[in-house]
């Protein structure tokens, strides 16, 4: 893990000194705020629907979140390696006494932290709701866990794609394609008949995951799936970085 801290700090600086993280965060928070506002409005008007779920649950399962994550995570991760390879700074980085693991994890930790910072202001939503009603905090925590898992796996996949190309745009498009692909697979839940195929699609489904976690259900299978979707691309990225050096 040599170089982890230095790479993490530089990456954070690179993200927040340039407009990228600010723009992404601003767009993200505007959309989320709008989504939350309309949901609260809706539940305030039709009190009968709030019997089995409140606006918070509805907020966390809204397809809006999945859609915005599929755009925002790739935008955050696209530059991680592609930019360094295009500009050549990767040469200075890798000739320093750092390990591939340190570089990859440092970069990943930085986008993950940025992702966390992006979500941080949304904590205001349950706090606002607490003034008018009851908030089930453990469920809020599990909802955030679900969102964290999805974001972390998206960012990991995005970083791997960024290591595969020198073009940020190609990294972005490739990542969105992969993420959209998994989303479409999840829709198989509504297409296939009862059977293993449908079960598989149900378990892959990002919406399914958000739904479960928003209800406070932490399914180990989903946790394992997320861990795999985080760990495998990370591992492959480390191998790719090593391969530049010893190709």
């Amino acid at each position: 893990m040599r170089g982890f801290v230095a790479v993490f700090k530089r990456e954070m600086l690179g993200l927040w000194v340039t407009p990228l993280a600010w723009i992404v965060t601003a767009v993200f928070l505007t959309l989320q705020g709008w989504s939350f506002y309309t949901l609260v409005e809706y539940y305030a008007k039709f009190t009968t629907v709030s019997v089995d779920q409140g606006p918070l649950q509805a907020y966390f399962v809204s397809p809006f979140i999945v859609m915005s994550l599929m755009m925002i995570c790739p935008a955050l991760s696209m530059r991680l390696f592609a930019e360094e390879r295009r500009s050549g700074t990767i040469e200075a980085l890798l000739t320093a006494p750092v390990s591939a693991v340190g570089v990859v994890f440092g970069k990943y930790a930085a986008v993950l932290a940025t992702y966390g910072l992006m979500w941080l202001p949304t904590l205001a939503y349950p706090i606002i709701l607490r003034n008018t009603g009851h908030v089930d905090w453990p469920v809020v925590a599990s909802s955030y866990l679900g969102i964290f898992g999805i974001g972390a796996s998206y960012l990991s996949i995005g970083m791997f794609m960024s290591a595969m190309t020198r073009s940020q745009l190609i990294a972005l498009v490739l990542t969105i394609m992969v993420l959209f692909g998994t989303f479409i697979l999840g829709l198989g839940e509504f297409i296939f008949d009862e059977g293993p195929l449908r079960d598989m699609c149900t378990h892959i489904s990002v919406r399914g995951q958000l739904g479960d976690f928003a209800k406070g259900i932490i399914d180990l299978r989903r946790v394992v799936l997320d861990a795999t979707a985080i760990g495998l691309p990370l591992f492959m990225t480390v191998r790719v970085v090593d391969s530049w050096r010893f190709g």
């Binding site: 040599r2 530089r10 500009s87 040469e91 200075a92 006494p97 390990s99 010893f246």
Partner: protein, 345 residues
Amino acid sequence: MIEVKNLYKDYGTVVAVHDVSFEVKAGEVVGFLGPNGAGKSTTLRMLAGFLGATSGEIRINGFDIVEDAMSARKSIGYMPEMCPLYGEMRVGEYLRFRSELKGVPRRDRKSDVDTAMTDARVSHMSETRIQHLSKGYRQRVGLADALIGRPPLLILDEPTAGLDPNQIREVRRLIRGLAGKHTVLVSTHILSEVETTCDRAVIIDKGRTVASGTIDQLRTERRTLGAVLRLHDPVDTLAAVLDSAGGLSSWSQTITTELGVELSANETSPYSRVSVEYAPSPLPTQDVLEQIVKALVASGVGVREATETKASLEDVFAQLTRDTGGGPTESQPATVVDDSEEAST
């Protein structure tokens, strides 16, 4: 400090480096010389541990670049070609990042960065964003970066590329100033750079080493082209004398006065300056001058001075890089650019 043995790099379709071996001893400033595309950068990248070699062995400061990669890389301050830097960072910020990355202990970082900035003369730019720097300053920041952590070995890939003549002189001066404190391997395609800054040169072409030695050794490889004579007597007798001197199958003469003005045939002047160009001769060239002087003295012409004119290192370089390899590119002269050409690009 550097030991390179039988280094090969095969890019699949192109063999970029073909059996390169050389050694750099501690304290030396060595020029790594070759025309563009000779495999200089590829070799340096392999030395710096950025590229893996197809085969061969590299030891830096006694550490194998593959087995002891961390120790080897810690011993190197590497400045990549074109000097890529993070544009959004400030100079001081960037150098502090590099010192952390290179594992400089926290308490030494500030002083280390400050010394590097002073040595590379960028201290006054420490708060400037790198993207706002001129090419010359970026190059200096790259040099400061290489100096971070006080590595015993500096590998600089074309540090003067793309600079104006003043900046080139400045960077050379910086490199020269580093000699003694560091071992330096500096790549370039400019010969005069090696002459002014280096003790020794390794010349490669088409991925092979074609020559290596001290600058003086390389100079002795220069072919003697002719001689300049300062004579007391009128020069119109010279033709007859030279014809009588043995070993000169043909020669040409330009006659100039000491002021460098050409002399027409009927004009005569004492202390004439005559330059003689040798034709390819079977005699060793030092014997030719001896013969000429002997013949002149025997015929009563006063010789005040006799100096051999040698081929410039550029010619040696062109000759060396033309002789190797083969194939259709052989006839193309090697690209050797001197200062004046470089400045105009």
